[in-house]
Amino acid sequence: MAPEARPGRILTGADVSRDPDERPDVCVVGSGAGGAVVAARLAQVGLHVVVLEEGPWHRPEDSTLREEDAYPRLYQEKGQRATADLAITILQGRALGGTTVVNWTTSFRTPDRVLAHWRRVHGVEGITPEALAPHFLAVEERLGIHEQPADEVNANNGALWEGAGRLGWARARTRRNVQGCQNLGYCHMGCPLGARTSMDQTYLPDAVAAGARVYANARAVRVEYRERRAVAVHAEVLDPRTDRPTGRRVTVRPRVLVLSGGAVNTPALLLRSRLDISGRVGKRTFLHPVAAMVGLYRDRVDGWSGAPQSVTSHHFADRGPGKVGFFLEAAPVHPALAARSFGGFGAAHQDLMAHLPNASALIALAVDGFLPEETGGEVSIRGDGRVRVDYDIRAPIWEALREGCKALARAHLAAGAQSVFSLHEDPVEIRDEAEVPRLDRAPWERLRVSVFSAHAMGGCAMGRDPERSVVDARLKMHGMDNIFVVDGSVFPTSLGVNPQLSIFGMAHWAAAHVAALLR
């Protein structure tokens, strides 16, 4: 235990000119909300940690704040990740620091009722609010998580604040992981000021300071295992300029392997490695499917300016048995993302685009995975090697999205919107309360209305029963002696809140269980 003997470092693909063979205590695959926290905690107790990250090392000064640069550079599949039928656009980060480099900084603890549901339905023992509380506190302190000041709520979020307030709905300002934020409104393109406490600014430097070696541009291709133990991870090195393989390989032979690639890439790595003992890897994928309503206001909203998310309403998060809950937030309005999302083609689409400065985009996120019959989506691997995500939006979710859009329409109108549009291919326009029921008659069917996800969860569900889950309540894989999964893929349902703080907290908690295996 002499971390000073191993100077920590971040290496990019350009720094790898041979084929390194690393033999650390722990290899962490993925450097996002789960991997970075685990890596830092383990390095700080003197363990030798190697982190593999397929994405680039994006520095704040690299941000051009242009959509045409940001999505290809900082998102999975160059910003083109979606379900196989293209019905759901999936926004997921791909960078050193993972999605924490591009998310909207919203920070919620895991709701108690979600943890209780996991215990009751999925046999997840030990992950209680009391057990997690000190870990949440530690992370919140390290990341400076705090509530957005009232005078720094932009007009886009202000619409939700005002609308929910006038309708008497529960509402709150969100907590955010930022320090010195200037409210530019470009969180999702990589903060140019380094003012977000994303993993590349916080836990990854902590890990490196404690001796961790972090490879960016290193894509884990396969986990090699023998009987019940992972023996090696094989990664290919990518050129930081072209993102194509350089031909170099990194081989890591750890004592313990921690998979933290997120809810799509961790199941994909396991499936590529044929490591699917129970047949449950890639199952129970949940997305918080999102529908949106666009309000047009007399005054400028400039939805691209100001903190992207600062207000939330969980008034409809729990709608009783048999119903899928939803929660309400805002989404930043930038031209290319808006153009992809708005309904219609030609003049109608163009007319909406022409009103972009006056547009406020509010979103309803469906809380999927809690009904007994819900099985969620599925991650699989195609014959040509591509990851495939399928997600069938079933009737209870459509019902939630429809009711969510009706709630958003009311919120917009209450806030003073002069007109509200759905994102149907044939947009439903609503000008007053009496027109809200028009949404009941709109087609709620895939590819007739834009649906998104920024919260991929599940795919390596935790649970007591090895036949029905992938990891146990200590996040160790069932049937494997030295593999842990520490990311959003272990959630057996969605969360009903933005996931990053749940992942931070759980990773902070899980580090002790990983370390326990190495003593």
Binding site: T83, L86, P134, G194, A354
Partner: protein, 265 residues
Amino acid sequence: MRILLPGEKEGRRGFLKKGLVGAALLAAAGGGAWLATRRTRPWPASRKPLLVFDAAQAAVLAALAERLVPEHPGFPRPAEVDVVSRADAIAAMAHPASQKELRQVVSLFESAAFGLLDWSPRLFTECGVAEQDRRLRAWAGSRIAVRRTGYRALKQLLSSAYYSSPATWAAVGYAGPPAAAPGPRREMPGEPPLRRETSAGPAPRRETFAAPELPPELSPPPPRPRRFQAAPVAPAASEPVPAPAAPEPVVPDVEPPLPGGARGP
């Protein structure tokens, strides 16, 4: 781009159930999509060679972009922003298998045989604009999910290509990134890193970012008539909300302690 095409295993089963229409689509796709565009007047050579699409497919994309962005004051023509090259560059970033699927969709869209489904037995590029719009609507609203997928792929590709171009920002009233954005910059020796406020206190407020000076061709267009009436608009949020409840009391937990006593950061 993920496009479920009839050639794909999962799509095919569901597709064949749809009977003749599905069979026709399969035949068109399987019989060599290039046939569909062999008579298409090729797109004139661009400034740089395309990476994904051939000249015929490029002509189809150009025609589609014309319909995505009809003539409208302030909106540059798609050709002015070189939307085809931009779309090609976006497509080139996708997996080779996804690129192939995109090419197939473009060719199917152009196909005269396929146009028969929509009572339009002509190449898309040879239709008048009204007929082109009708065909677009037929794909967008098709009862066959695979056609809606194809439509979605083309719409996302072209709308991303067009509206991410800075030349279109003025038309949509977007001033561009804040002037403080440093833009692409490489590390320079001896240069101090960007300062970050790490104290717990409030950060010093930066001056408001003014819209950058735009060259004349990017200046915002004159205000256009709004389609809605003036009405009272809610003021921005400022009402304070109650402080969050105190954190859960910390109770001893059962987890193994980290060796070395390291707890927290």
